[in-house]
């Protein structure tokens, strides 16, 4: 099985939020970046499928130079090789534009993949669409919020999470695109051997210009959807902050719960 996993580098969960001078994103100075959480689960599912059925796991990511580090981490966990679409201005693309780049780079692969996996949504923009858009561009069937993947005679059988604790099985022919929900497997850590091996694994770098050269349809159209401005959220409720030492704050809260909320 050849599996491509589309991964994204995102600001780490506890990153400090300061709006940048243009008011369109956060100030990235001094910020650490991580692999997007549900993409980490997508990678894990891919690695387990490879362990069970053999084949190859290729990770693909778009973004500036620093994205190379996240690709190396995926290689250290066991992916066989990487594709890095180099771009310093991804923010000027909408979701369709980014998915076009990923799809174009996947189409350049010498051998077609059986599966394309990605996380169900990114922890930063949270659009939850890139995988599905890629499926439509590539003309492939897709399924979202997937927890388990089994290989069958004709394709795959997957477990899809529905709302309120419900689930459903689906059967799809391959090739197919799946977006992976977190939680099915424990994520693996890179071993020392893995980290060492990752240094010698191939990372193919492609530029947006290369992709356009090979397929003029990739040329970025004007975005349909534009992020105009970011703002700190406004409060939905008035919060009484209870200060002091832990025991003082605790005593104050108990008093509120007793006399204001009348819950004790």
């Amino acid at each position: 099985m050849k599996i491509i996993v589309a991964i994204k580098q995102v600001p780490e969960r506890d990153a400090r939020i300061r709006i940048d001078s243009e008011g369109k994103w956060i100030d990235l100075q001094d910020i650490e970046f991580n692999l997007n959480e549900s993409d980490a689960y997508a990678l894990e599912e891919a690695l387990q499928l490879k362990e069970a059925h053999g084949g190859e796991v290729v990770v693909i990511s778009a973004g500036p130079e620093r994205v190379g580090k996240t690709i190396r981490e995926a290689l250290a966990k066991g992916a066989d090789r990487g594709i890095h679409i180099e771009s310093d201005d991804l923010a000027s693309y909408d979701a369709l534009g980014v998915a076009r780049l990923l799809a174009a780079a996947i189409e350049e692969e010498p051998e077609d993949p059986d599966l394309i996996l990605t996380g169900l949504q990114s922890d930063d923009l949270g659009l939850g669409q890139t995988g599905v858009i890629m499926a439509e561009i590539l003309g492939l069937p897709h399924a979202t919020l997937i927890l388990k993947i089994e290989k069958t005679e004709t394709g795959i059988k997957v477990l899809r999470e529905l709302e309120d604790g419900w689930f459903q099985h689906l059967e799809l022919p391959t090739p197919a695109v799946l977006t992976i929900q977190s939680g099915n497997s424990k994520l693996r850590y890179a071993t020392l051997m893995g980290i060492k091996k990752a240094k010698t694994k191939e990372v193919r770098r492609v530029t947006v210009a290369d992709l356009i050269h090979n397929d003029p349809d990739v040329k970025p159209a004007d975005p349909v959807v534009i992020l105009d401005q970011v703002m700190l959220p406004s409060k939905q409720r008035t919060t009484q902050m209870l200060g002091g030492s832990p025991s003082e704050a605790a005593a104050a809260l108990v008093e509120k719960l007793q006399f204001e909320v009348r819950a004790l």
Binding site: I17, I19, I26, A95, L96, D123, D124, L125, G126, G128, Q129, V132, I133, A135, E136, I137, P141, H142, T144, L145, E161, L162, E163, G165, W166, Q168, L170, E171, L172, S182, G183, D222, P223, V224, V225, I226, L227, D228, Q229, V230, M231, P233, S234, K235, Q236, R237, T238, T239, Q240, M241, L242, P246, S247, A250, L253, V254, L257, V261, A263, L264
Partner: protein, 329 residues
């Protein structure tokens, strides 16, 4: 004449509450733009639920009907909705942000060379029809809001977050139901869906608890769970959790609150070490009183909290347990 088209979702044989919230969002937009509202439901034109419309009556109700749509598939819904949009020619398409919409709407938008503006929490219409409306959605797990606009002359697709708009009360209406029969062929449906099922019998009913103590990533390790369990016991509360705790297997999935777990509205919801990602907030923001204990004063959970304590949960929670025991004797 162009319109705002709302595609409603049926769940458990009724039109879901989040669909009516999307309908309320559609009316907000339609009034600002001076457009009529049409609605569409994938069902038989004779389904009696089409007679019970919440909020102002739409211009037309389209009953989108085909035997290949009886079981949901992304292929079937994307194609049927694309044909409906080509027929109705709306300026805006509004959908509830459900798992089903997340599954097919991005494909539908791509087919129309558009991008779905997903999980919208606010719609701003501006005076004058020449000024385009703007849409608010959350970034970075709710730590930031963003204002988006749609450009070009094509249809603009939006999905609306649960709880972001208040569903309108039902109004008597006599809207005509118009059947819309898309042209679908079995070969277009590449996916074979199985029957939905529940994983196991639920043994915990978080919905009936008066007080919930809910724990998140801040607890750091499974071995630390007893400190929140002790607080829950002292309060006579049920223990709940955010998704990462259940993903890690530290608590069973049935204790999970949020979009993929249970939706709760207890008298008191005490969030311990929960940052308040959107997916969690949609499951609990209807609680009567929300208490948040978190080390990060900028955590989004404080935006919905009535009472907040910024501090180390490993110090605050035991102190709180002791204080509760003292008053409860």
């Amino acid at each position: 004449m162009s319109s705002v088209l709302v595609i409603l979702e049926i769940k458990d044989r009724i039109i879901s509450r989040i669909s009516w919230e999307a309908m309320a969002a559609a009316h907000t937009l339609a009034e600002g733009r001076g457009l009529p509202v049409d609605i569409a439901v994938v069902t038989s034109p004779t389904n009696p639920i089409l007679a019970k419309i919440q909020g102002k009556p739409p211009r037309t109700i389209y009953a989108v009907d085909h035997k290949l749509l009886h079981a949901y598939t992304s292929d079937g819904y994307a194609e049927a909705c694309a044909q409906l949009i080509a027929h109705v020619k709306p300026a805006y398409v509004i959908l509830p942000h459900t798992y089903q919409v997340r599954d097919f709407a991005p494909r539908l938008a791509t087919r129309l060379k558009q991008v779905l503006i997903s999980d919208v929490t606010g719609i701003e219409t501006h005076a004058g029809a020449s000024v385009a409306p703007t849409f608010i959605r959350q970034l970075l797990q709710g730590k930031l809001n963003a204002r988006y606009s749609h450009t070009g002359t094509g249809v603009c697709l939006l999905s609306i977050q649960a709880g972001a708009f208040r569903a309108d009360a039902p109004e008597a209406s006599a809207t005509t139901v118009e059947p819309f029969l898309p042209k679908l062929e079995a070969a277009q449906i590449r996916i074979q869906p199985g029957e939905p099922f529940r994983a196991s019998a639920q043994t915990v009913d978080l919905g009936s608890a008066t007080i919930l103590v809910s724990v998140g990533r801040g607890i750091k390790e499974e071995a630390n769970l007893p400190i929140v369990q002790e607080l829950a016991t002292a309060l006579g509360a049920e223990l709940a959790a955010s998704r990462p705790i259940c993903d890690a297997g530290w608590l069973p999935m049935e204790r999970q609150v949020g979009s993929s777990g249970q939706t709760v509205a207890p008298k008191v919801y005490l969030a311990v070490g929960i940052s308040g990602a959107i997916q969690h907030l949609v499951g609990m923001k209807g609680s009567q009183c929300i208490v948040a204990i978190n080390k990060d004063e900028n955590a989004p959970i404080f935006e919905v909290a009535d009472y907040g304590i910024v501090g180390d949960l490993f110090e605050v929670v035991p102190a709180l347990t002791a204080a509760v025991r003292k008053v409860k004797g």
